[in-house]
């Protein structure tokens, strides 16, 4: 199965399809609210649309990354455990393919929502270049997906899997708090989308590399 087919298959599942629909609906709503109407000509829609898009993509990447990372190993579930094809056990080749497909589906969501960023950027004419405006959400998606994988695994090992639904929004909020208190654009995709940040790019690139290393294909061991 090609990566495109795997991504399409993953994106076609209910959870991601609903996520994509919700993301597009949110962007449509924000675009409608921030686009100038009536006699106004001041267009500052990009300053809302771009950070929101980057943050929602990062939030989704963290959530799906944590979900995949927290998957139990086969030996944790006992010999009678029969995994579903959609949720292969952690560490197995099928799980790695699942990681790759989920990341590809998330990046496809980034491409599909790109016109909102380009449109608002073109009309708002911000000082930040279009290149960074388009790159930052992809960096955030890859980086937060890698962070999610690690976070999911840690909570599974620590036996705190029940806390994942709380941990995901807490991490996104904590990243914003960290950037505000340090005055840097290191962790939060909201602030990073507005101003180019080499620190953010480096951190997200490192986490993306972690995700790609996790998703690397390995030879299947014969049963």
């Amino acid at each position: 199965m090609s990566l495109l087919a795997a991504a399409a298959s993953r994106l076609g599942r209910q959870d991601m399809l609903q996520g994509l629909t919700a993301l597009l609906a949110a962007l449509c709503l924000v675009l409608a609210m921030s686009w100038p109407g009536g006699g106004s000509v001041v267009n500052e829609s990009w300053s809302v649309v771009a950070p929101l898009r980057a943050t929602l993509l990062a939030f989704g990447a963290l959530a799906w990354g944590a979900s995949v990372g927290a998957r139990p190993r086969r030996d944790e579930m006992g010999p009678s455990y029969l995994p579903l094809p959609e949720s292969p056990p952690h560490g197995e080749p099928a799980w790695r393919r699942e990681v790759g497909a989920t990341l590809a589906a998330l990046l496809a969501m980034g491409v599909i929502t790109m016109p909102f960023d380009v449109l608002s950027h073109a009309a708002s004419y911000p000082r930040t270049g279009l290149g960074w405006s388009l790159a930052a959400p992809f960096l955030a998606t890859g980086g937060y997906f890698g962070l999610g994988l690690g976070m999911g695994r840690l909570t599974r090992v620590a036996g705190l899997g029940a806390l994942l639904p709380l941990a995901v929004p807490a991490v996104v909020a904590g990243a914003a708090w960290l950037d505000v208190s340090l005055g840097t654009g290191l962790a939060s995709p909201w602030f990073a989308a507005l101003v180019p940040s080499p620190l953010f790019a480096a951190a997200m690139a490192a986490l993306t590399a972690l995700a790609l290393w996790t998703a690397r294909p390995v030879r299947e061991v014969a049963a």
Partner: protein
């Protein structure tokens, strides 16, 4: 005298010589002097001469003057002036004309070798917006009495008169009666062209003979001002000045009226309904294709997203990041005109607007002026109206032998005489006698100015393809000139 005693007496005089030298050194002028305004008299709301004289300061020094234009409500609104001082042994002189808005305080410092060499301040409590009546006379007291207590009569020497016309922005009159040293002809011409009424009072001695070049008649308009030849008492001088000043529109009011209407039209965005409808349609299509058609559907959605992005960039992007509009207000007097350029900069991205040459923002805001010109920071989708320092140019509009004349190389359009009505256009070199015309809506470039202009004022436009120049010749056409038509 015994040589030993002579030596002893000289030795005794040595401490006295040292003490005298120390006293002389202690009485040496200060290292740096800063004078703002003509003779130190600042007129707020006007361009004022600034002069810095520094002695033996380090090479490559800089003088930094900070005008805090803020109020209790607005907080600090600084205008920073940063100018290089050549420095080195001897005197270094820096001269500049700066616009002084109402201020809370003015502080200055001369910085050289990384340290403050000298500093000082001017408190804001004594600021005065009344224009100056400058007197070059040994009998300045009699003029001060004639002008009355409400006037600001200042007594300066001829050498103190600046040569730049914009430095006379805050001067109402310059009175010369021939009893003091003669002023330079350039300074007198600059004063008149810059808007002051130059009064040549009484008969001039031989040392002032060249003033006759300017005072050939009783009233010689020159730029925004005029040269008046007045005989009689100082009271007659005061009355002549007040009468002439009252017949002229206030330049600050003209500038405010000219800038009252926007000089630029910002780019119109795409309609909100169109944008929202397109966004919803794209979203539905992308989700449907991904859900129903698997990998081909996803590939189509991705391709569609790229195409829609390209189209959005092409249609929604304004062509230029900055829109600039300008208008020049030129007050005609004789063969010269006093031109003030108004320029509105509307920027889409946040930026720093830079303008070469002396200029100021129309409204109170923070800005910096250095040797490169003016710098003002603007957030995105905001504009600033900049007012350049007035300059003297050749007048394109004139009045000769009862006819309005176009002396320039470009057409004068929308010519109008206040009180008479529109006069039509004037080709280069053409002339036309004023006639009563049908009233119609005036051109928008000068419509807001008309209520401020006295009857008989001729208004005309030129160069509107780039930025209109509004030529104003106050009271150029006398009432008799059109009643005879």
């Amino acid at each position: 005298m015994n040589p030993v005693r002579r030596f002893a007496s000289r030795l005794a005089a040595l401490p006295l010589a040292v003490a005298l030298a120390a006293l002389a050194f202690a009485q040496a002028p200060p290292l740096v002097e800063l004078e703002l305004g003509l003779g130190g008299n600042v007129v707020v709301g006007a361009w004022n001469p600034l002069r810095v004289v520094a002695r033996d300061v380090p090479l490559g020094s800089r003088v930094e003057v900070t005008f805090d234009q803020g109020t209790l409500r607005s907080g600090e609104v600084p205008f920073r002036l940063q100018l290089p001082v050549s420095g080195g042994p001897g005197l270094s002189v820096v001269e500049r004309t700066v616009y002084v808005a109402p201020f809370a305080s003015v502080t200055w410092a001369l910085v050289g070798d990384g340290a403050v060499v000298a500093s000082g301040s001017i408190p804001g409590r004594g600021q005065d917006s009344r224009p100056l009546d400058v007197v070059l006379s040994r009998r300045s007291g009699s003029y001060a009495a004639a002008f009355g207590e409400s006037a600001r009569v200042v007594d300066v020497s001829a050498a103190q008169l600046p040569l730049a016309p914009e430095a006379y922005d805050g001067v109402r009159s310059v009175v010369v009666d021939g009893t003091a040293a003669a002023p330079r002809l350039e300074a007198v011409a600059a004063a008149a062209a810059g808007g002051a009424v130059v009064v040549v009072h009484g008969e001039m001695p031989a040392s002032h003979a060249e003033l006759r070049l300017l005072a050939a008649g009783p009233v010689m308009p020159l730029g925004a001002g005029a040269v008046l030849a007045v005989s009689g008492s100082p009271g007659d001088v005061a009355r002549a000045v007040e009468s002439f000043a009252a017949s002229r529109p206030a330049r600050s009011e003209l500038i405010a009226a000219a800038a009252a209407r926007p000089l630029v039209t910002p780019p119109a965005p795409l309609r909100q309904q169109v944008v929202v409808a397109a966004a919803v349609a794209f979203s539905v299509l992308a989700v449907t294709a991904t859900r129903l058609f698997g990998a081909p559907g996803l590939a189509s959605a991705l391709l569609l997203a790229v195409l829609v992005s390209g189209a959005a960039w092409l249609y929604a992007r304004p062509t230029e990041p900055e829109v600039v509009g300008s208008r020049t207000l030129a007050l005609v007097g004789g063969e010269l005109a006093h031109a003030t350029l108004l320029e509105e900069r509307y920027t889409l991205p946040a930026t720093t607007v830079r303008v070469a040459g002396p200029a100021r923002p129309l409204d109170a805001r923070s800005y910096v002026v250095d040797e490169g010109g003016l710098r003002v920071d603007l957030p995105g989708w905001r504009s600033v109206v900049l007012v350049a320092a007035p300059r003297v140019v050749d007048a394109q509009l004139g009045f000769e032998d009862g006819s309005i004349v176009n002396r320039g190389a470009t057409p004068l359009t929308d010519v109008l005489v206040v009180g008479l009505g529109p006069q039509g256009d004037l080709a280069p070199g053409a002339r036309a006698r004023p006639t009563s015309g049908e009233d119609g809506p005036p051109h928008e470039a000068y419509a807001s100015l008309l209520p401020l202009l006295p009857a008989g004022t001729v208004v005309a436009l030129s160069g509107c393809e780039v930025g209109c120049t509004v030529w104003l010749a106050p009271s150029l056409v006398a009432a008799g000139d059109w009643e005879e038509m």
